[in-house]
């Protein structure tokens, strides 16, 4: 159940991050395919452009860091007592998009094999993805 543990870690870490904002509503949506998966997170807390940029940069590191992803990435989603560290999952996913939706923050994580194409998903996207 390698996939279950991996998804659990990613969901745990992003959830930890979103719960730090003490939202009244938090939705996690998972869509799996054979070659990849898409996870969406929605909450009811609007963020400033600066915050969105910071979150985006944490989730989309400039360089691939396999030596950090496989080893230190194991800490992701494991502990809710400490501050969330989105960088831990940024190294492990293909791409993330971050934007304010109508009601709050929306984070999309795309993960999977090289064959995986995120554009095949048909979730309605309002506005331009960051």
């Amino acid at each position: 159940m390698k996939r279950k543990e991996f998804l659990g870690r990613l969901i745990g870490e992003v959830t930890n991050f979103l719960l730090e904002g003490n939202p009244l509503r938090l939705v996690v949506s998972l869509h799996q395919e054979d070659d990849g998966a898409h996870i969406s997170f929605f909450d009811d807390q609007m963020r400033s452009e600066e915050e969105i940029k910071r979150i985006y940069n944490s989730l989309n590191p400039q360089k691939s860091r396999p030596e950090l992803a496989e080893y230190y990435g194991l800490m992701a989603g494991h502990d809710m007592a400490w501050d969330a560290r989105l960088k831990l999952i940024g190294w492990q996913i293909k791409h993330a998009s971050v934007e304010n939706s109508d009601s709050g923050l929306r984070i999309d994580l795309w993960l999977g094999s090289d064959a995986f194409k995120s554009e095949h998903f048909t979730l309605d996207k309002k506005g331009k993805r960051k």
């Binding site: 860091r65 396999p66 030596e67 950090l68 496989e70 080893y71 194991l74 800490m75 809710m80 007592a81």
Partner: protein
């Protein structure tokens, strides 16, 4: 390859070359090679000061182990940055009192096999492989100290190292969860755990000998100069490459980081600031050793190299000072000599707990350092000196205790309960 990475390669190659040349100059090229070959047969358990076999021999050995680390990083196609630089410099430091090419390679091979089994690239496990060389003494102890015929003991030593390396990724991942990244030498913690089992197995077979300490107290100018010269080189590079103002700005920004694993300081964009941090850490703790009247020998060089190694990956002046102060306080309270091997090395290697001071403040750092000395004095006997990163083992235990208590406290705050 980015410019900053090329510069790190250049600086590391310069250090390795300087050690090779100095080693050969001190003892003669042929003699030093002969001595280093003979050094491979040492069981190398804690504490075996390689400078007693010759200053040049220890330097040449450190350069050869550093070359192995650098070549592996290059061919594993991972970037030379904070984490990988920390691994290479740590290996070099420990090659002054334990690591040799012979005892490193089987462990690295074991981790490589584990990566193949898990269908990962070796690059993914490269940090585990490099730091995993902490268990090097297991290989050479089995090979040369068990009083078995060499045709039996050498394959057995190779096999022991490969087996330890093979299980290391699994153990390291679990150990990380215990302290949540607050012990910088996590592989040292993991190797100590594996070393416990290995040592007790050998004890059950009646093959475990008592720990001995060899400790060089003779003055050697080349040894005394290594750390300050390399520190000054890094600081000069910082000021030239990044301009003084930006380097100082970066240095100050880095001091604000907690240092909790995994934080690559080079990722902050302050290349010069990070080099400045590494250089100043080296100078400060080198001055500390001289100030207390400690010898600059193999293990002390190992400690200083390790502090500098993590200057790009978790340690700052701000988060290390409280922990070291805690060790000094503990040394005074328990009436120990600050120049004795254990308190002196504990002061240097206790900086593995720097993230505790970085995250929870000066008092927590002081307490962690205080407890660390008490722990580290006994943990070496638990694994019979088979884990070179004994302070990582003791630090892991201390950090796990701290984190368990703080976690319990954090998860039981009544004011955040739901109201009825």
């Amino acid at each position: 390859m980015q410019r900053s990475e090329k510069l790190l390669y250049l600086l590391t190659i310069l250090l390795i070359t300087a050690l090779f040349i100095t080693g050969m100059a001190l003892e003669g090229p042929l003699e030093v090679v002969k001595q280093v070959v003979s050094l491979q047969k040492e069981s190398a358990r804690l504490i075996n000061d390689f400078t007693l076999y010759g200053i040049g021999t220890a330097m040449f050995n450190a350069a050869s182990v550093g070359s192995l680390g650098l070549v592996l990083v290059y061919f594993a196609t991972v970037s030379l940055s904070g984490p990988t630089l920390s691994a290479i410099l740590t290996m070099m430091g420990f090659a002054f009192f334990g690591n040799t090419l012979l005892n490193c390679i089987p462990l690295i091979l074991g981790v490589w096999f584990a990566s193949k089994l898990a269908r990962k690239t070796f690059g993914s496990y490269s940090l585990i492989a490099l730091f995993g060389t902490a268990l090097g003494p297991l290989v050479t102890y089995v090979m040369f100290a068990l009083d078995l015929p060499h045709h039996l003991s050498i394959p057995l030593g190779l096999l022991s190292g490969m087996l330890a390396g093979f299980i290391l990724p699994a153990v390291a991942g679990s150990m990380l969860q215990l302290h949540q990244g607050y012990n910088l030498y996590n592989i040292g913690f993991s190797c100590g755990f594996i070393g416990l089992f290995a040592a007790n197995l050998l004890l059950a077979l009646n093959r475990m000998q008592a720990i001995t300490v060899t400790w060089n107290t003779a003055f050697s100018l080349p040894l005394v100069l290594i750390v300050p010269l390399f520190s000054l080189l890094l600081m000069a590079t910082a000021l030239i490459v990044d301009k003084p103002k930006r380097s100082f700005e970066g240095f100050l920004a880095i001091q604000k980081l907690t240092g909790r694993l995994p934080y690559d300081f080079f990722d902050t964009g302050y290349f010069g600031g990070t080099l400045l941090n590494i250089g100043l850490l080296g100078l400060l703790y080198w001055a500390y050793v001289l100030a207390v009247g400690g010898p600059i020998n193999g293990p002390v060089i190992g400690g200083l190299f390790t502090i500098m190694a993590f200057g790009g990956f978790g340690k700052t002046l701000r988060n290390t000072v409280p922990v070291v102060a805690g060790v000094i306080l503990s040394t005074l309270v328990f009436a120990k000599s600050p120049t004795a091997p254990s308190p002196l090395l504990a002061a240097l290697f206790s900086t593995t707990l720097a993230p505790i001071a970085g995250q929870f403040g000066v008092i927590a750092g002081l307490l962690a350092g205080f407890i660390h000395l008490v722990m580290v004095e006994v943990t070496a006997s638990w694994h019979a000196g088979l884990d070179l990163y004994n302070n990582g083992f003791a630090g892991g235990l201390t950090a796990s205790l701290f984190i368990a208590i703080l976690q319990w406290y954090k998860t039981n705050r009544p004011k955040e309960d739901f109201t009825t």
